[in-house]
C-alpha cells in the first residue's frame, strides 16, 4: 500500500469525527423525539440535555460520551488491495486518537485486568474486510460503548416462556422482550439491530451491521419493513422513555435483517446501540485521500 502516512491521517480524522460528531440522521431523530414528549417532563428534559451534549461535543471537539467503546471497522477494498497495511495504518490512527484524548484508554487485558495505553491489542480494534469490484475504499466505523453492548440478547426459538414459535410473530415477541429487558440501561433512547437466523456468532455480526443503515431507511424486504414499523410503534407504549425514567421514547429506530440458518437452529439476535450513536464512514481513494463522507 502506498501513502501509509496519508492513510493514517485520513483514518485518524474518521475516528475523531466519529467520537465527537453525532451523525445528522440520529440528531434529527433526537429532535423529532423531543417534540413528542410533554413539556417539563423528565423525558423532554433528558432529550434536551442530549441535544445540548451533541452540540457541545462538536464545539469542544471532545468525545460525545466518555465510554468511547469498542471500535469496529468495516472496509470494502478493491480486489487485491493490501489489507494488512490498511490494518496497520488503522492501528496507528487508533493509538494517536487515544493519545490525543479522542478515545479513552478503554482496552483491558481480560486475564491480567491491566489497561492498554494505546487501545491496540488482540481483538482491538475489530476489522471486517471485503473485496469489491470498485476502484475506491469504503470505510465505516462504529464505536459502541459497553453499557449498550451489555443489554444485547440472543434467543433460540421456540422460546416457551415468551410463547415465541419459529415464525415472525415469534421474532416480534423476542424483540418486545429485549426492549423490556433493556429498559433504559443501554442509554435509551437507543436503536435496535435485529438479526433473524444465522448462528450464535454471525447473528450478532449481522445484528450490529444493521447499525450501518440510516435511521430513516426501511428494510428492502417488505415484510421486515412492516415488522420494523410495528415494533417501533409498540416500543412507545411500553413507556420506558429516555434513560428508563418514563416517556414515549424508548427507541429512536429499529432495523431488522436476516441470514440463512440450519434447520435445527432458529436464532433471533438483538443488539442495542445507545443514543450516542457513533457511526461514520467515508469513501477514500486507493492512496487514502477523501472522496466523500458517508452519513
Amino acid at each position: 500500500m502506498k501513502n501509509h502516512v496519508q492513510w493514517e491521517s485520513s483514518l485518524f480524522e474518521l475516528i475523531r469525527r466519529t467520537s465527537v460528531d453525532l451523525p445528522c440522521d440520529i440528531e434529527q431523530g433526537l429532535r423529532r423525539a423531543c417534540k413528542t414528549e410533554k413539556k417539563s417532563s423528565r423525558a423532554r428534559w433528558i432529550l434536551e440535555a442530549l441535544l445540548e451534549n451533541v452540540q457541545k461535543a462538536r464545539d469542544n471537539d471532545a468525545p460525545l460520551c466518555q465510554d468511547t467503546g469498542s471500535l469496529i471497522f468495516y472496509f470494502q477494498v478493491p480486489v487485491g488491495f493490501d489489507t494488512n497495511a490498511l490494518a496497520s495504518a488503522t492501528r496507528l490512527a487508533v493509538a494517536r486518537a487515544t493519545r490525543l484524548g479522542y478515545l479513552r484508554q478503554n482496552t483491558i487485558d481480560s486475564v491480567s485486568g491491566s489497561a492498554c495505553a494505546t487501545n491496540v491489542a488482540y481483538g482491538a480494534p475489530t476489522f471486517y474486510f471485503e473485496q469489491c469490484a470498485r476502484g475506491t475504499v469504503d470505510v465505516r466505523l462504529l464505536m459502541k460503548g459497553g453499557g449498550c453492548e451489555n443489554v444485547g440478547k440472543q434467543y433460540s426459538l421456540p422460546a416457551e416462556s415468551l410463547g415465541a414459535g419459529r415464525d415472525l410473530e415469534g421474532v416480534r415477541r423476542c424483540v418486545l422482550d429485549a426492549v423490556v429487558s433493556a429498559q433504559g440501561n443501554g442509554c435509551a433512547p437507543g436503536i435496535l439491530g435485529v438479526c433473524i437466523g444465522g448462528d450464535r456468532a454471525t447473528g450478532y455480526e449481522c445484528s450490529k451491521s444493521q447499525f450501518l443503515r440510516k435511521l430513516d431507511d426501511k428494510s428492502p424486504v417488505k415484510i421486515l419493513a412492516r415488522l420494523e414499523d410495528r415494533l417501533l410503534k409498540e416500543s412507545k407504549v411500553l413507556e420506558i422513555g429516555p434513560m428508563g425514567l418514563g416517556g414515549n421514547t424508548a427507541l429512536l429506530g429499529l432495523k431488522i435483517g436476516s441470514m440463512s440458518r440450519v434447520p435445527a437452529s432458529f436464532f433471533v439476535t438483538v443488539s442495542y446501540m445507545c443514543w450516542a450513536f457513533r457511526r461514520r464512514g467515508a469513501v477514500l481513494t486507493v492512496r487514502g485521500g477523501f472522496k466523500k463522507w458517508l452519513y
Binding site: 428534559w45 457541545k56 466518555q66 416480534r172 422482550d177 429498559q183 433504559g184 440501561n185 407504549v237 425514567l245
Partner: protein, 201 residues
C-alpha cells in the same frame, strides 16, 4: 411542575438534606464528589481503606477521560457509567463509610433500595452519555487516588461540581422510580404479547 424547580444539594450531604429528597425529583449537585467504579468498589468491599473521609460524601460512578495540561488535569468527558455492576458492593460500602449519595445510571434493584433505606442514602440518575454537558459541571479536579494501581479510568478522582443535574431514582425511603417504570412496562409488554393481533406475513 416540580421538575422546573430543581432541589439543590451541596457537599457535605447531610442526612436532613438527603432525607427530604423524593424519587422523581430533579436535583443540582454542587461541591466535592469522588469517582468510583468497578475496581474501587471491589477494593472497599474487600476491606480496603479509603484515602479520604467518605462520611456524608457522594460516590460518582464515572470513568472520565482526563488529560494532563501542563501541571493540571483537565476533564475532557465525564458522564455516568452503569451502576448495577456495583450493586452487590454498595450495602457494605454505604454502611462502612457513611456514603450519603450515589450518582450513576441505569436500573438498581432491591439490594440498593435496602441500602439506601438503611443508610439514609439516595441514588441519583445522571444523564447517560451526556459526557460534555456533565464535564462542564466539573469546576476543577481536586485530586487523584489509585491512578497507578487501577488506571486512570478506574481511579478515584476528586471532582468539584457546580450544579450537576440528576434525577432522584431511589430516595432514602427506598422508593424506586426505575422499578415503577419497569413494572409498568413489563405489564404492557405481556399485554402486547397476549394481543389478538399476532404478526402474520
Amino acid at each position: 411542575m416540580a421538575l422546573l424547580k430543581p432541589r439543590r444539594l451541596e457537599y457535605p450531604f447531610t442526612p436532613e438534606q438527603v432525607g427530604s429528597l423524593r424519587a422523581g425529583q430533579f436535583v443540582l449537585v454542587s461541591g466535592l464528589v469522588y469517582t468510583a467504579r468497578d475496581r474501587i468498589h471491589k477494593y472497599f468491599f474487600d476491606g480496603g481503606k479509603s484515602p479520604v473521609d467518605l462520611k456524608n460524601a457522594a460516590l460518582y460512578h464515572c470513568g472520565p477521560v482526563v488529560i494532563r495540561k501542563d501541571s493540571d488535569w483537565v476533564v475532557r468527558a465525564a458522564g455516568p457509567t452503569t451502576s448495577i455492576r456495583e450493586e452487590p458492593y454498595l450495602p457494605r460500602i454505604i454502611k462502612d463509610h457513611g456514603v450519603r449519595v450515589i450518582i450513576g445510571k441505569g436500573s438498581m434493584g432491591k439490594v440498593t433500595e435496602g441500602a439506601c433505606k438503611a443508610g439514609g442514602c439516595v441514588y441519583l440518575h445522571a444523564v447517560g452519555g451526556a459526557a460534555q454537558v456533565l464535564a462542564e459541571k466539573v469546576v476543577s479536579v481536586k485530586g487523584l487516588y489509585f491512578g497507578e494501581e487501577f488506571g486512570l479510568a478506574e481511579a478515584m478522582w476528586v471532582l468539584e461540581l457546580k450544579d450537576f443535574p440528576a434525577i432522584v431514582a431511589i430516595d432514602s425511603k427506598g422508593h424506586n422510580l426505575l422499578r415503577r417504570v419497569k413494572s409498568a412496562s413489563l405489564r404492557m409488554g405481556r399485554k402486547l404479547m397476549k394481543s389478538s393481533d399476532p404478526f402474520i406475513p
